[in-house]
């Protein structure tokens, strides 16, 4: 089968969605399908620009390439799923959340002007058309599926995907709590730093880059030796950090899915998250595969201290998570997407 995997790209930014698209292409190729990743740059601001960008996808002709038909399109994210194809399958990682649950919050994009309100509605209408015409719609997490149902009335089939391929291994804990994430306000890494302020024995390592870095560094000033910012790191270093940590912190606000808990589990480590983290709660269960607390620095500090003081629990919960993570395979995903 000739398959085009469609995903947007934000130039100079690489995150979980980009990794997932690359891995999907690799998995399809491994099964013998001629597969190509098709991307178009995505810039969603200011104002109505988000619609232009969606329109670019609408104009793309993926019916055939070089005189040969493209049999199927698998699109992953807004606005890539606006592409037209008679055999389009959408595997929704993200909608344009600024138009949905982020609207009228600090993370939103649209104000109260009639033009902004109408732009938000246009995104909603666009989703209705683009997702409505798909042969099948999958969601990477229950959170995404719920949002599709709540805002768009679309029933999506749940299909989580495996995390990126790393040389996962488990080593003895060196006592630090690891954060792996884009340094972005919505990821709430500041909560972890504040926890370190409350418990001066808590050590944290923050991996990743992003626009919130300088604010986080300011917040961590004065916590000498307690907080380490690694910046962007390679796969080997990341796997090593996972292997040696006490636990992994992952608590974005109402996250869609997040591969980090799976990566943590494959490294045999428990996850510390919050009640309002969304997607991660589908696999992080309190005192089974990690600790789930209120989004509060003091509670977070207590949870990390508990794991530090109860190493056996931490190990057992990490291993329980590993069993869950190992059940999610690319083979199963490809079967579902091509069914």
């Amino acid at each position: 089968m000739r398959i085009a995997v469609c995903a947007p790209q934000v130039p100079f930014v690489r995150g979980g969605a980009e990794v997932m698209a690359d891995d999907l292409v690799a998995a399809l190729r491994a099964r013998g399908h001629e597969t190509e990743l098709v991307t178009i740059p995505f810039k969603w601001y200011p104002g109505t620009r988000v619609l232009d960008q969606a329109f670019l996808w609408r104009l793309a002709d993926l019916t055939e390439s070089d005189g040969r038909p493209i049999d199927r399109v698998i699109a992953t994210k807004f606005p890539a799923y606006c592409v037209r194809h008679s055999n389009k399958v959408v595997w929704v990682l993200h909608q344009f959340r600024q138009a949905y649950d982020y609207d009228r919050t600090d993370l939103g994009q649209f104000g109260e002007s009639p033009e902004d309100r109408a732009t938000r509605r246009a995104v909603e209408e666009l989703d209705a058309v683009a997702l409505g015409e798909a042969r099948k719609v999958f969601a990477t997490s229950r959170n995404v599926a719920d949002r599709l149902r709540r805002f768009n009335g679309i029933e999506a089939q749940l299909l989580p995907h495996p995390p990126q391929s790393l040389p996962y291994r488990t080593s003895a804990s060196e006592g630090y709590v690891l954060s792996v994430n884009r340094l972005d306000r919505a990821k709430r890494i500041d909560l972890l730093v504040e926890a370190a302020q409350r418990d001066r024995s808590l050590k944290i390592v923050i991996a990743g880059e992003g626009p919130d870095r300088s604010r986080l560094e300011q917040l961590a000033a004065g916590l000498n030796g307690q907080v380490e910012f690694t910046g962007r790191i390679d796969e080997e270093r990341l796997a090593d950090l996972y292997a040696r940590c006490l636990a992994v912190y992952y608590a974005p606000l109402d996250e869609d899915f997040g591969m980090v808990p799976f990566e943590s589990f494959l490294s045999g480590k428990p996850v510390v998250t919050t009640h309002d983290a969304g997607g991660p709660l589908e696999v992080v269960h309190d005192r089974e595969t990690g600790v789930v607390v209120a989004p509060d620095a003091a509670e977070l500090a207590r949870a990390c201290a508990y794991l530090r003081d109860h190493g056996d629990d931490a190990s057992a919960w990490g291993l329980a998570g590993k069993e869950i993570a190992e059940r999610v395979t690319w083979d199963a995903c490809v079967d579902a997407l091509l069914s």
Binding site: L51, F55, T119
Partner: protein, 404 residues
């Protein structure tokens, strides 16, 4: 976003005033709404919402405001002949009526209008308004139209209306525990609520009920509502042998009493022909209460699901079919009632209706500016590479929902 809201309001005894009493609080929870009042200055707002019905006394001032400032029209019924005649002839503006008739039917319409003005023809809004709906003068000033049924949407399109149309169901009244009235009963008790006239098929209902009662002597018909001026209900009842205890006759009812009477009925009937494209508040109330409902198979009523109401076609078999439908509805009242209640909860929930209103108003208020901005950039990009006609691109954008 601020919305100027034009509607008759309670204590006005109009279905649209009841509708607004239900909708307004839900809208106010979602957006800034300022209610316009007759004779006062038009409120400042991003967009105006005009509720239009056929009664010139209740809606004349609203159409006046619409003519001054186009906005979103909620077309509660499609036939507006009475309204238009009221705000033209009724104000001494015979020429306005002729213009409306010409807009509807060309020269022939103007001539018919002249016939009415010169008393050579009967008043068309009384005799055959459905043939001359006169919705165009209102639609001409509508930036968008909200309708309750596909039937009215289709009529507006047939009329040539090209603006945005949103179909938003009539909201259902929240139903709390309603104690059935204890002073009425029947086996079964069949209820018909609302204005009683030919248009509600009362003669056909009476015939069908008279026939049914011969087989089911315990059956009773509750007729609740004022009778039309030229509709001699008493004589009809007498002629059909229903002037005894078979028919319970009540006039205007306070809201609470109406609900308890509705709750006491086994079957409710809501017939209509010809239809003016209206939605029936009585029918919605009946379904909200989980009552078996018999309706005419026309207009909005025909769009109700087959497993929710029994629909009787308006043809030569109407009376015998109606008789059978009443009996069937009584036999299956529990199932029909349950289906009706579920349907109303699903399709007519106030919360959903209010959300749909906000969506429509937001698109209406800002949609043109969004379309212009996107189209401008598409056209600019196309023109820069020598494509001067970006029509095809614009069509693709519209098809994708990018342009509203």
């Amino acid at each position: 976003m601020k919305v100027a809201y034009y509607s008759p309001l309670q204590p006005s005894r109009s279905g649209i005033a009841d509708y607004s009493a239900l909708l307004l609080p839900a809208l106010r929870e979602r957006i800034d709404v300022v209610v316009a009042e007759p004779g006062k200055r038009a409120p400042d707002a991003d967009i105006a919402l005009y509720h239009v019905g056929n009664d010139p006394d209740a809606h004349g001032w609203i159409v006046d405001a619409l003519y001054k400032r186009p906005g979103i029209v909620v077309l509660h019924e499609y036939v507006l002949h009475h309204l238009i005649s009221g705000i033209t002839i009724g104000r001494g503006d015979g020429r306005g009526y002729l213009d409306a008739m010409e807009r509807e039917l060309g020269v022939a319409g103007r001539l018919l209008g002249l016939g009415v003005l010169d008393n050579l023809l009967p008043l068309l809004w009384e005799t055959q308004p459905e043939r001359f709906p006169l919705a165009a003068p209102v639609l001409d000033h509508a930036h968008g139209v909200i309708v309750h049924s596909s039937f009215v949407a289709a009529r507006a399109r047939d009329e040539g209306y090209q603006g945005r149309i949103w179909r938003i169901p009539h909201p259902a009244w929240p139903v709390h525990d309603v104690a059935p009235a204890g002073d009425v009963s029947g086996a079964p008790l069949i209820g018909c609520f609302g204005f009683l006239n030919m248009n509600k098929r009362i003669p056909e209902l009476l015939q069908a009920f008279a026939s049914l009662r011969r087989r089911l002597p315990g059956a009773k018909l509750l007729l609740a509502g004022a009778a039309g001026e030229r509709f001699d209900l008493s004589r009809r009842l007498e002629r059909l042998g229903l002037s005894g205890d078979g028919v319970i006759r009540l006039d205007y009812l306070p809201e609470e009493r109406m609900w308890s009477l509705l709750a006491a009925c086994d079957v409710l009937v809501n017939l209509r022909f010809p239809t003016m494209g209206e939605t029936s508040g009585s029918a919605i109330r009946a379904m909200s209460l989980g009552k078996a409902l018999v309706v005419s198979d026309v207009g909005w009523f025909a769009e109700l699901p087959d497993d929710v109401v029994l629909k009787v076609p308006v043809d030569e078999y109407e009376v015998p079919l109606l008789e059978r439908a009443l009996e069937l509805a009584a036999e299956h009242s529990a199932t029909l009632g349950r289906n009706a209640r579920e349907y109303v909860d699903r399709e007519h929930s106030l919360s959903r209706v209010a959300d749909d209103y906000v969506a429509a108003l937001e698109v209406a208020a800002g949609g043109d500016a969004v379309d212009d901005a996107v189209l401008m950039r598409i056209a600019e990009a196309a023109a820069e590479v020598g494509i001067d006609d970006a029509t095809v691109l614009a069509r693709a954008a519209a098809e994708a929902g990018i342009l509203s």
